[in-house]
Amino acid sequence: MTTATARKIRVVVAKPGLDGHDRGAKIIARALRDAGMEVIYTGLHQTPEQIAETVIQEDADAVGLSILSGAHMTLVPKVVALLEEQGVDDVLVTVGGTIPADDIPELKKLGVAAVFTPGAGTEEIVDFIRAGATERHERGE
């Protein structure tokens, strides 16, 4: 894969459910854009259906779900299930927010590649998404 023709990594940054805390999601969206990725920020109050549709329509390589409302164990599995249902199984799914440590293993079992909790560094997140999305690109070629 030549870097000259390599397409930009496309990332959807999404806010599922009624949660209005968007400070972190916006920072990550900007950081990913500054790092050279194509970022689609969904804005607030997205249903899992809307998020899955955006991921598919935008041909995204990765989706970051930002959730600080405590509803993550309902909403994240829904998004993952909808993507699977629609035959999308090569999208990197990451989660960020106030996720209790106890919930992380179950999210990972569902296929969430990483969960970024309070205090996670921006660079760490950007690097993870870049590496994970690139790996999926290369696998797909």
Partner: protein, 540 residues
């Protein structure tokens, strides 16, 4: 004595940033020549115009701030229990946190409420819930704050009706309802309607409360959330006050007399961790509000000019790493709020970076306030830092910064137009990104996060919300729906829609619908049929 501002000091400095958390440069030393002349006029006396030193002459010698811990989770039973726990442990006012569906105008059984019920606060759908929420709490003997904005009129109606059922008339009810919809579009992002009808509802509430609930604060003009979203202290101050002026203008346009409604406007600020910057912010807020109310809005009564506020310590300053450190942060922040003259205070619990607080954690948070009040001595005198060259200089600078933002917002056509153009939202996004860069680059240290890190931490026990409570709430809602007079509800909702389409005051139709057990979701949906809904065009 003091060096020229910005000049290199005579001594060697540590390799660190000497700025506030908002990025303001701080000098190595402040002396009398650093403060602009005529300080006495700008500072004055507590309880006298321009109220820089405090809204009351006696301050905490006369009465301590209200210790008012924000609480709510699960269903009304769990929250009622937490209310009693906090009152039993010495808190002196109630503060209610509602869940996301309630905040956004959805009933607990709406499909958008799935997984969200009772998670961020208490689920309230109908008057039946509200009665249970305050079980065993005489509303004539306590003041209550309710944090709710777009559906505020509905929750106020519920509260008034609970008072009525207890034999307490509305004019005896004391407390506050947040209602501050402008800061929702800017920062907290909990909306039901477009901006204009939302502003109409706020004005309806101010008008109705002025006539019917003289002890009640119909709006709590807030900076807390603006700051939590990532603004600087200067932006928090400026955007909050500008929102306040916008409500004053709307009420004046409605034909209300400023001296009738202004005394019951209240404020809500953040107490972040940069100690002196916060104290300066509160003092500047009082001075600016007093001047503008007197000179721009024609207020004649002192009560109309004096800014009174509630404070919450900064949630964003809390770390998930080494949570006990948060007790220290909260203490510093609470101290700043007290030295800044707050009338009411919520202190965060040490586990709140991770979840809603456990009983043990919230008890420590409450004890923090009690220790400050009883043991530290800072309550012995009003405005203890008044006259400090540093604090007076910072206060002056904070005031000047706010006026800079007022001018920019006026250039854009006022706050509503500024919000439409994403101006405050973009300022906040930029400030929050700058701060995060500073933390990522270790220019700004957060103990436990980018320095003094501990690799193998014991997990902290946190509050878990029982998912079964969602079913409990939807069952309860179904029971209310089954019990109520369906025809009466239909008729009340129709009347609500009719009034919404006129310029009549919506409080009475909302109260009438609430009384017959219309649900919050039904009332919001009825109004949305007339007003429409709102979607933001986000900037990042």
């Amino acid at each position: 004595m003091a060096a020229e501002p910005g000049s290199k000091p005579e001594f060697k400095q540590r390799d660190a940033e000497f700025t506030t958390i908002s990025g303001q440069e701080i000098e190595p030393l402040y002396g009398p020549e650093d403060v602009d002349p005529d300080l006495d006029e700008r500072v004055g006396e507590p309880g006298e115009y321009p109220f820089t030193r405090g809204p009351y002459p006696s301050m905490y010698r006369g009465r301590l701030w209200t210790m008012r811990q924000f609480a709510g989770f699960g269903t009304v039973e769990e929250t009622n229990e937490r209310f009693h726990y906090l009152l039993d442990h010495g808190q002196t006012g109630l503060s209610t946190a509602f869940d996301m569906p309630t905040l956004m105008g959805y009933d607990s059984d709406h499909e958008r409420s799935l997984g969200e019920v009772g998670r961020e606060g208490v689920a309230v759908d109908t008057l039946d819930d509200m009665e249970q929420l305050f079980a065993g709490i005489p509303l004539g003997g306590v003041t209550t704050s309710m944090t709710i904005n777009a559906p505020a009129a509905i929750l106020l109606a519920y509260y008034v009706l609970v008072g009525e059922s207890q034999g307490v008339p509305p004019e005896k009810l004391g407390g506050t309802i947040q209602t501050d919809i402008l800061k929702e579009y800017i920062a907290q992002k909990e909306w039901c309607f477009p901006i204009e009808p939302a502003m109409r509802l706020v004005t309806d509430m101010i008008e109705w409360c002025t006539e019917t609930m003289p002890r009640w604060h119909p709006v709590s003009i807030s900076g807390y959330h603006i700051r939590e979203a990532g603004s600087t202290a200067q932006q928090e101050l400026a955007f909050t006050l500008k929102d306040g002026f916008t409500y004053v203008e709307a009420a004046l346009e409605r034909g209300l007399d400023v001296d009738d409604f202004a005394p019951r406007l209240s404020f809500f600020f953040n107490a972040h961790v940069d100690f002196f910057e916060e104290i300066a912010k509160y003092r500047a807020a009082r001075r600016i509000w007093a001047r503008e109310m007197r000179d721009t809005y024609g207020a004649k009564r002192e009560e109309s000019m004096r800014l009174r506020f509630h404070t919450q310590t900064a949630g964003v300053s809390l770390t998930a790493q080494q949570p006990l450190n948060n007790i220290v942060r909260t203490s510093l922040e609470a101290m700043a709020a007290v030295l800044g003259g707050t009338q009411s205070l919520h202190t965060n619990s040490y586990d709140e970076a991770l979840a809603l607080p456990t009983e043990e954690a919230v008890r420590v948070a409450l004890r923090t306030q009690q220790i400050i009040a009883s043991e530290s001595g800072v309550t012995n005198t009003a405005d203890p830092l008044g006259g400090s060259w540093f604090v007076e200089k910072l206060t002056d600078e904070m005031e000047a910064a706010a006026y800079g933002y007022f001018a920019r917002i006026d250039e854009l056509g006022g706050m509503v137009e500024a919000i439409r153009r994403n101006y405050p939202q973009r300022e906040i996004a930029d400030a929050s990104f700058t701060y995060q860069q500073e933390v990522d680059e270790r220019k700004r240290i957060v103990v436990g996060v980018n320095d003094f890190v501990q690799e193998d931490e014991e997990p902290t026990p946190i509050l878990k919300i029982d998912p079964g409570l969602e079913r409990k709430q939807t069952d309860r809602l179904a029971a209310t729906r089954a019990r109520r007079d369906g025809a009466a509800v239909e008729s009340a909702l129709a009347e609500l829609k009719r009034v919404a389409a006129t310029d009549g005051n919506l409080m009475e139709p909302i109260i009438a619908a609430a009384r017959v057990r219309a649900t919050e979701g039904e009332m919001i949906a009825a109004m949305q049929e007339v007003f429409g809904t709102y979607t933001e065009s986000p900037v990042f």
